[in-house]
Subunit: 228 residues, 2 copies
């Protein structure tokens, strides 16, 4: 369980605080992924023994929580447009940009309840944008539905990015990239619709794909918020 409160700082001004620890962890994760984040490496980057960290953080999971909340600060929008739909669109777009900047965020998105101050502020702002447009339950459902879409879509997008990077090939060629296995599968004729999709489908870029799906979901939300 995460405690977001900063512990009382040591008597003397320490060269170390949560923020520096989290920043170091994020830097490591940004280039190397989540698996590159080890307490030893974080500590090393701060010229400190590994055990020092436990004065500020009680477990590695908590460090991950702190990292997530830290990047949620990048998601939090500055202004608040009065158009709720525009507001949700911007929120989704900012989440996407942040996830592209910090790919490891995709591994954590939706993984555990996000209760840090920045995450709460983000939730507050989206809730506020929808406040009064419908009864509370409907508003909650709207927020959760949109957020579920965002989580799922971004996880898939990052998964694809990584797969392409790993094989060095474009999505157009993924069936070859993933070895003869998938291609053989498709050629068995057991998956005609899938084969057609792979061979005949145009691959739209990830951004418009994300935006289009989002628009659909927002259409659905709009229909529920403002019943005809």
């Amino acid at each position: 369980m995460t405690v977001w409160d900063r512990p009382e700082p040591p008597t003397r001004p320490a060269p170390l605080d949560r923020e520096r620890i989290v920043a170091a962890a994020i830097a490591l994760a940004d280039e190397g992924g989540l698996e590159a984040v080890s307490l030893r490496k974080v500590a090393a980057q701060l010229d400190v023994g590994p055990m020092r960290l436990y004065g500020y953080i009680s477990t590695k999971e908590e460090l991950f929580d702190l990292m997530v909340d830290e990047v949620y600060a990048e998601i939090l929008p500055e202004g608040r447009p009065d158009d709720w739909r525009e507001m949700l669109r911007i929120h989704a777009e900012r989440t996407r940009r942040t996830t592209l900047r910090h790919e490891w965020l995709a591994d954590l998105l939706g993984g555990r309840p996000t209760l840090g101050p920045n995450a709460l502020a983000v939730t507050e702002s989206t809730l506020a944008a929808l406040d009064g447009l419908a009864d509370l339950d409907t508003v909650m459902r709207a927020v959760e539905t949109v957020s579920a879409y965002i989580t799922g879509a971004l996880r898939r997008e990052i998964a694809n990015v990584r797969a392409e990077r790993a094989t060095g090939l474009s999505k157009r060629d993924w069936q070859r990239a993933y070895g003869p296995h998938v291609k053989r599968m498709l050629d068995t004729g057991r998956f005609p619709a899938l084969a057609k999709a792979v061979y005949d489908g145009t691959d739209v870029d990830a951004e418009t794909s994300f935006a289009t799906g989002l628009d659909w979901v927002l259409d659905a939300v709009a229909a529920k918020l403002t019943p005809a």
Copy 2:
């Protein structure tokens, strides 16, 4: 060393193939989560040295992939209703039930491209259900949007289940469960909409919440598939 414990010549207890390995890994993950799956423990459960596994599996990630594809078999529907919407609904429902049976699936959902035979079959069946209802790009967008929602919604649901289990408290009390911290945050007045949602919101059960959000998304998809 007596004469009597002589023969048992084969004593070869294990045919040991991928299926047995994957089954053992799934059993471990089912009770203990993904982190309870270690190659040593899997091997131990099969009365085998850890290195034996590398004859059938080349990395732990691959084992995870195999586990995912194995449970995708539980998602694959038997019959194919001719109503595409019913088909998608059933697919989502089966995915949810499977994820509730194997909570670790939520940790893997959307994490990497799913190219196993069962996953391909599932994709094939949903694609086939929508085939011909619109141009290929629209159909793809529909499938991906629905699947993104499913991934995100199930991840959140499992995250909540775990949080409740960890604290032993119902969602109604989560603000207390997560310590005075969140409550204090809410009471600062900086999150009025959120506070209202927490205090005044009725907590609908997860199943109808999932189904309702899904219905909205399906509404949106329907509007795109069958333009007025």
